[in-house]
């Protein structure tokens, strides 16, 4: 028996390779159940975990790509919505302007505000209309809410509007109910006030202040604001009338120049 074990030991290499050839030969006969079983075992043990990882990574990548696309779409949709919202607001403003009738003898020339100047409140505004559009100095400027100011300088393509909030601006005005007259001015300390109104005046909070047409710049009937407070000092001849302008000077966008019809 010793010679057998010696022979096996000597031929060990050959036996190993022979076994490999034999197994390979068995597996080389394609389509047998052994092949399919081995393939299934290899697939389950060595491929399947990595296929799962690969699929998960691919899925994650696809989800990430989709997420990126959706974010882009969301941004685009938000921009579109905000643009639509802006268009709607503009539309509302234009609709309200369409309902506005200019004073007799005047036509409306639309203009867009391209810049404003001022510290707390805008006091000057530059508009995109100028001498080429027949804009001249001292033309009144309004918007759908009321009187805004007057043109003070004109260049061929642009004009500057002095707003009612400018300290140098004065408007000859009257009280809508009592027809009493005064001068509207604005100061940083007191805000908009109606001066030169006697203490005997019947003016009260809530009264409408409109332009009187005196002074030659603003036509009569343009709304300036409403009275918010009236004080009658005993030792002074005039009331102190505080007015809230109807126009919001912080949000002026589209303005209208009142042009005299020739």
């Amino acid at each position: 028996m010793g010679w057998i074990s010696n022979s096996i030991t000597r031929q060990r290499r050959t036996l190993h390779f022979g076994a490999v050839i034999l197994l390979s030969g068995i597996l080389a006969i394609g389509g047998t159940p052994i092949n399919r079983y081995v393939s299934q075992v290899v697939f389950t043990g060595f491929y399947y975990p990595f296929f799962k990882i690969r699929n998960s990574v691919e899925e994650l990548y696809q989800v990430s790509q989709e997420n990126y696309r959706l974010r882009q779409s969301l941004v685009e949709a938000s921009v579109t919505i905000s643009m639509n919202e802006e268009t709607r607001r503009e539309n509302d403003r234009f609709r309200s302007v369409l309902l506005y009738d200019p004073p007799p003898g005047y036509t409306l020339l639309p203009a867009k505000v391209i810049s404003v100047y001022g510290n707390r409140l805008p006091i000057l505004a530059t508009i995109n209309r100028g001498a080429h559009d027949s804009v001249v100095v001292d033309q009144p400027v309004i918007n759908q809410e009321g009187l805004i100011g007057r043109v003070v300088t004109v260049t061929p393509d642009y004009a500057t509007v002095q707003l009612l909030t400018h300290p140098a601006n004065r408007v000859a005005a009257r009280v809508g109910e009592s027809r009493e007259m005064g001068i509207v001015k604005y100061s940083a300390d007191e805000g908009m006030t109606l001066d030169n109104l006697p203490v005997q005046s019947t003016i009260a909070a809530g009264d409408l202040i409109i332009s009187s047409g005196l002074g030659g710049i603003y036509p009569a009937g343009l709304i300036v604001g409403t009275v918010i407070e009236v004080t009658r000092p005993e030792d002074e001849p005039f009331c102190r009338v505080h007015i809230r302008p109807l126009a919001n000077f912080n949000s002026i966008e589209e303005l209208f120049i009142l042009k005299v019809v020739n």
């Binding site: 490999v20 390979s24 597996l27 092949n35 690969r54």
Partner: protein
Amino acid sequence: MTRLIPYLLYLLLVGLHQVILKDVTMIYNATINLPAFLVLAIAIYKSETSSIWFGFLVGVVMAGGMHYRIGWHALILASLALAAFHYRQRLNLDSMYSRVMLISGGVFVHNILSLVVNQPDAFIYQLWSNALLGAVYTALVVWVFFLFKDGKITFQKFKAIF
């Protein structure tokens, strides 16, 4: 039993390569032949018996998706391992370049034999576009591997470049 763990990890690495790394590292149709590289490296550093059986198992794992070709791939890699082992015994493999040459040559032979088994119809075209380019690509990877293994490149040296 613990001696078998590295071989099992190598087989898992072959599975990982077949499923993920092969596609990720492909350059112009040339792929790294990691199964052949592993078998030849084992043949260089381990015993003959280990090399033959490892070659056989790598062949089985590598062709796991094509059950009718498992036997051929197992036989090719086992034979390659045996041949590489005997070359290693007869050659002076102290030189890194001789090891790279042996593995590159082995990979090229394996690529050719795999083509004969898998795609005999497109053999001539694939010989250059796939087998040769793949062997060159694998040789580069093997060269970098041996540079690291022999300590000619270390991470400290690599970091020192920057």
